[in-house]
């Protein structure tokens, strides 16, 4: 259900799909499998053809049946034997070809996922800022899946259907060319009906999914906030809101289904109609051979069987066309991600940054996320090893900008940043980033054991090392109290430990990294005071002897800082030490006093 929802809502926002673009890229993925693909096609055609010969042989066998003892049983046995062998072979071929196609599609899906993921790791950080995690996930899972399913199923079905249609048409022409004219009536009728219904039904089904999605979204939202609803005594209001959405959802469901359920009986009717016409016309031919064409009972039987094989696939292809559309749209989204420009690679003469001391000089830096909107104007700063730089300002004041530039997540538009006297643009990105350790407000832990999470980034480390940093970060005793200690697996988004403990774990991780420079985000919202105190102690330990850039929220940190950068609405507005800034009595002083203001 979910899946169709996603498909449908995404199809809604469909602009025109660039088919040429998709085909070009898709071919790149098909290319390594061309031989196997050809083999699968061959097996498939062979299987379908042998399946097609069946009805013809059946007809021949039926013709051999003579009333009252006139039957030549050896002939019947021969036909029966051939038929059995034929059907077994055909089933085997069908199985092999669909397994073969599944194999190819799984390989392609795997390759696509690996490629997309690898590409994602090479995209600039800015890419992630404009996108929701959900969008990236749906490209990697739903979209690639859609392409894979379409390859695995639809391609085989279309191929088989085509062979079936052509083959049974040929067979029917061989048996009774005149009877084939029946299809001149029924095929257009059936195609018209299916297209008509599908065309009408698709927007209705989209609406149906949309309404159901709205209902589900509402339920999720409201149920999560149930306590609030109870506290404000507005259960009845919420129920009546729900009733409205429920009603809309059912209405949309009924409208879509009314029309949707017509198609089955209609297709059946057309099939029955052709059966009727074939019976009548067949009987007439049986009685009065026309143009020297004689019709036998067996002939009619073969013809009826072929006619079923003929009309089935036509409807099937009509149905599959819709799926093809969404597969192509999905493929386009996948390839668009692959087309995203990568982070520029390091210049050829880039050298790694080694034996870092931790002196940082920023000279006349200019930067803007958008070229027309500068956020840093001729910004300069010099920091010596072991100094603390506090960055202060309201939420959204752009405090992370400087960090983005230091870590080379973005490159400046002008000016330069030096570490130990070396311009960082001449260094390899990886080595610059390794020189820093970050402890951010949004603690990032992954599904794995506590030990893995702490050792992440440090590579091979001993148990003792891990325990040492955990003790230093004051989280060791908590970990040992867990049933599995350091081997406790952190579950989805690490819900089995508190936010504060998560932060302590990341501090321990940072201690283990032992980088000469540190980037800290002090914000500890939603952490209780006792834990906050422990975190602060751990951070203080961590900061010793390192050059630190701190997004500061605590006055104690700010007062101790060697340099303070004050940011407002994206710009650096003031810079100095606590004393000089207080003396200026500007924006910083205003910020500072607000904490101590009483009412």
């Amino acid at each position: 259900m979910l899946r169709t929802n996603v498909r449908d809502t995404r199809a809604l926002s469909g602009r025109k799909v660039d088919k040429k673009f998709v085909v070009k890229h898709l071919f790149r993925y098909l290319k390594p499998h061309l031989f196997l693909l050809a083999l699968v096609f061959f097996l498939n055609i062979l299987g379908t053809v042998s399946n097609l010969v069946g009805p013809w042989l059946c007809g021949r066998a039926i013709d051999e049946i003579k009333p009252a003892g006139g039957t030549d049983f050896s002939q019947i046995a021969l036909y029966a034997g051939i038929l059995c062998a034929l059907y077994v072979v055909s089933a085997l071929l069908e199985y092999l070809s669909s397994v073969g196609m599944a194999y190819i599609s799984r390989r392609i899906v795997k390759k696509m996922r690996v490629d997309v993921f690898a590409h994602l790791t090479r995209l600039p950080v800015g890419f992630y800022e404009n996108r929701q995690a959900g969008d990236i996930i749906s490209v990697l899972s739903y979209d690639i899946d859609t392409v894979g399913e379409s390859l695995a199923n639809d391609v085989v079905i279309v191929l088989k259907s085509c062979v079936m249609i052509v083959g049974s048409l040929v067979m029917m022409l061989l048996i009774a060319p005149l009877l084939v004219t029946v299809f001149a009536v029924t095929v257009p009728l059936s195609v018209f009906l299916t297209r008509f219904i599908v065309g009408r039904v698709q927007p209705l089904f989209r609406r149906r999914s949309q309404k159901l999605g709205e209902l589900n979204g509402f339920v999720e939202e409201i149920t999560a906030g149930q306590k609030t609803t109870r506290a404000y005594n507005c259960e009845e209001k919420i129920i009546s809101d729900f009733e409205k959405k429920n009603d809309e959802a059912i209405r949309a469901y009924a409208r879509a289904e009314y029309l949707g359920t017509i198609s089955g009986p209609c297709v059946n009717f057309v099939n029955n109609l052709s059966l009727t016409l074939i019976s009548v016309c067949g009987a007439l031919l049986f009685m009065h051979p026309l143009f020297g064409v004689e019709m036998t009972a067996g002939g009619i039987s073969s013809f009826v069987l072929y006619s079923r094989k003929f009309s089935g696939p036509i409807n099937e292809i009509a149905n599959i066309m819709g799926e093809f559309q969404s597969a192509i749209a999905a493929a386009e989204r996948v390839f668009r991600v692959l087309e995203e420009p990568k982070e520029p690679s390091d210049p050829e003469n880039a050298v790694p940054l080694e034996n870092v001391r931790g002196d940082v000089r920023i000279e006349h830096l200019n930067f803007g996320y958008l070229p027309e909107k500068k956020v840093l104007n001729d910004f300069s700063l010099s920091v010596e090893k072991g100094q603390v730089v506090a960055i202060v300002g309201h939420t959204g004041a752009g405090k992370t900008t400087i960090i983005n530039l230091l870590m080379r997540f973005y490159d400046p538009c002008g000016g330069k940043i030096e570490i130990d006297g070396q311009d960082i643009s001449t260094l390899t990105r990886a080595s610059v980033r390794r020189a820093f350790t970050m402890v951010l407000q949004d603690t990032w832990l992954f599904a794995g054991t506590i030990r893995e999470n702490i050792a992440y980034g440090a590579g091979e480390v001993s148990r003792e090392e891990v325990e040492r940093v955990c003790k230093a970060a004051k989280i060791h005793s908590f970990i040992t109290k867990l049933p599995n200690g350091y081997d406790t697996v952190l579950t989805d988004n690490a819900v089995n430990i508190s936010k504060g403990q998560k932060q302590l774990l990341t501090i321990a991780r940072a201690m283990l990294m032992d980088s000469p420079m540190l980037i800290l985000d002090e914000a500890t919202s939603n952490v209780d005071t006792r834990t906050e105190q422990i975190i602060q102690e751990a951070m203080t330990t961590l900061m010793k002897g390192r050059t630190c850039f701190v997004i500061a929220h605590r006055l104690s940190t700010i007062r101790r800082a060697d340099k303070i950068i004050v940011m407002r609405e994206g710009n650096v507005v003031e810079q100095g030490t606590h004393e000089t800034l207080m003396a200026q009595n500007g924006y910083y002083a205003q910020l500072y006093y607000s904490q101590f203001e009483s009412y």
């Binding site: 049946i65 149930q226 009924a254 970050m438 504060g500 005071t529 104690s556």
Partner: protein
């Protein structure tokens, strides 16, 4: 399942009419092959008839076939329509009752089911029940009629040939059933691998900076590749199983045909009879395949139905006790209250305090110390295990829920905002005037950003995701203030505010809501230092209570928290 089926009852007339039509349509379809046989055997190959008669009878029988086809068409279309009506309405009713029930579940009951599970019962489970009812009514009736009717007609025609048919039915049925059953656990593990892949992706997207900073992209790529490899292998396994079903079903059908011809030949049946049986064959086997597919829908649907029923069966009757009253001068009074969520360890232990009208209570303490539990008990979401809680001198258990909660304006910890207009989010179904809402926004320091976003009609995203953390908190506070409550409860509702805004909010509260009794839970001392009473909680116990000045001297924990937050500034403050 029983209770769910009761929801069909009001529509049993519609269902019955649908079934009759479906029956008529299916039977009409069954006559088609028989008529085909008659045309060949009794008319075309019958030498006793003159050619004029032959023509006449052929056309008549052809006309009857056409008529049957038309009956089948109309019968099925209208039957389907009736099915859609009844299954739609039934789903609507079931969902409505479930939602109503859910809305009135007690917190204990919600805890016992679990929130995610409750949501999935309302969403996916109700969807599966709908699917089950609709499919069963639509196909579940048609398929047995086709099989049974086909069999009856076949036996009336030729018992021996019919036996061949009968033999094939269970073979196909069992094959398809076995394959489907085999594939279920494989699909289950495909789902699990898929979840793993999604999780890895999610981790990599949210942690992109950390991963880049630690230069672990290569490591992550390898880990991801591993998952993708396993996923592909599991999916291929599922493909291999499912690929069996089509060829096997077709093979059985085809081999059955061959047997039919051989048996027909041995018994010297007429060509028309054999032809007729071939048609029966196709009809019955297709019905079999449809039937096995329905079994999957039914087994999933009935599991969902029983999950829904377990919620519907819960008792939500409200019990109002008449209990002795206390001092009406006290707005809030806790007397030796203890409480446990799971009945094993106490989350609150022997908590006592009281608050006069218009006073402010500040609560501070670490995570899990029982701060939010205290609010839950105050609003009577849970019954206290021991002791009693009085609001305005009356035990909370002797209030109706409505009466009690009318007194409150609350912001819960990580409270929720919905995808609706700003107005609706603040009003929250209480029918407040725009004036009241704007006033509340003003006091909650939310007016400026509300105006910036286009005023009361600004549409919030789900969970208010298009607002910053601080903006969300201010909006929630506005919601609590808008009803001019007698008691205002703010659980951690200013942690994302900067000090400046937090101070302005506090000023507005004391100025504009002087009469309201206030309960403020906070992590910053600055948010509660001016309270009339401050409680310091640890492990569910009160370890310090009093005014700020007293606590700084008497409660070590409090003094420590204060020192941490104020840094070296402590000596300076004297106010």
């Amino acid at each position: 399942m029983k209770k769910t089926l009761k929801y069909i009852k009001p529509y049993s007339g519609t269902v019955a009419a649908g079934l009759v039509l479906k029956f008529a349509g299916s039977v009409a379809e069954l006559f088609l092959p028989q008529l085909l046989g008659r045309i060949i055997d009794d008319v075309a190959a019958n030498d006793a008839l003159s050619s004029d008669q032959k023509l006449k009878y052929t056309l008549i029988l052809g006309g009857v076939m056409l008529f049957c086809a038309a009956v089948a068409l109309l019968g099925n279309i209208f039957a389907n329509r009736l099915t859609v009506i009844s299954s739609g309405k039934m789903t609507h009713d079931l969902r409505y009752d479930l939602f109503r029930k859910t809305s009135y579940l007690s917190s204990r009951q919600v805890d016992s089911v679990g929130l995610p599970s409750l949501i999935s019962r309302l969403t996916s489970d109700s969807y599966y029940v709908n699917q089950m009812v609709a499919r069963t009514l639509r196909l579940g009736v048609r398929a047995p009629i086709l099989i049974l009717g086909g069999m009856i007609l076949a036996f009336s025609e030729d018992a021996v040939l019919a036996c061949v048919l009968l033999a094939c039915v269970p073979i196909v049925g069992i094959t398809v059933f076995l394959i489907t059953r085999q594939s279920v656990p494989v699909y289950f593990s495909v789902q699990k691998k898929q979840d793993e892949m999604v999780q890895r992706t999610q981790e990599n997207v949210t942690g992109v900076r950390v991963i880049r900073a630690l230069d672990k992209s290569k490591f992550e790529t390898e880990k991801f590749d591993e998952v993708v490899k396993e996923l592909a292998a599991t999916e291929f396994k599922a493909n291999k199983i499912m690929s069996l079903s089509n060829p096997l079903a077709t093979l059985t059908l085809n081999l059955g045909l061959v047997v039919l011809i051989v048996v027909g030949a041995l018994r010297a049946n007429s060509a028309g009879t054999v032809l007729e049986f071939l048609q029966f064959f196709v009809i019955i086997l297709n019905a079999m395949i449809a039937l096995t597919k329905i079994f999957v829908v039914i087994s999933r649907g009935s599991a969902s139905a029983s999950r829904i029923e377990s919620v519907l069966d819960m008792n939500t009757e409200e019990e109002i006790l008449s209990l002795p009253e206390g001092d009406p001068e006290l707005a809030i009074c806790f007397e030796n209250v203890s409480f446990s969520y799971n009945g094993v360890e106490n989350n609150l232990k022997d908590v006592s305090f009281s608050l006069r009208h218009g006073q402010t209570l500040g609560i501070i303490g670490s995570t899990g110390s029982g701060k939010s539990t205290l609010v839950n008990l105050l609003l009577h979401f849970y019954d206290a295990g021991a002791g009693r809680i009085l609001v305005d001198g009356k035990d909370v258990r002797s209030y109706s829920q409505k009466e009690l909660r009318k007194k409150f304006g609350v912001v819960f910890q990580s409270d929720f905002l919905m995808a609706a207009s700003l107005r609706e989010n603040v009003d929250y179904g209480r029918g407040l005037s725009d004036e009241q809402i704007l006033r509340a926004l003003d006091h909650a320091q939310a007016r400026a950003f509300a105006d910036e976003h286009g005023g009361l009609d600004f549409l919030l995203a789900q969970k208010g995701d298009n607002l910053s953390g601080g903006q969300k908190q201010r909006l929630l506070v506005a919601r609590a203030l808008a009803g001019d409550p007698e008691i205002l409860v703010l659980d951690d509702s200013s942690s994302a505010l900067d000090y400046e805004t937090d101070a302005a909010l506090r000023r507005a509260l004391s100025r504009e809501y002087a009469d309201a009794t206030k309960v403020i839970i906070a992590q910053r001392v600055s948010s509660i230092r001016h309270a009339d009473l401050i409680l310091v909680l640890e492990d569910g116990k009160i370890i310090g209570s009093g005014k700020h000045e007293e606590l700084v001297n008497s409660c070590e924990e409090y003094a420590l928290i204060y020192a941490t937050q104020m840094g070296a500034e402590r000596g300076r403050e004297t106010c």
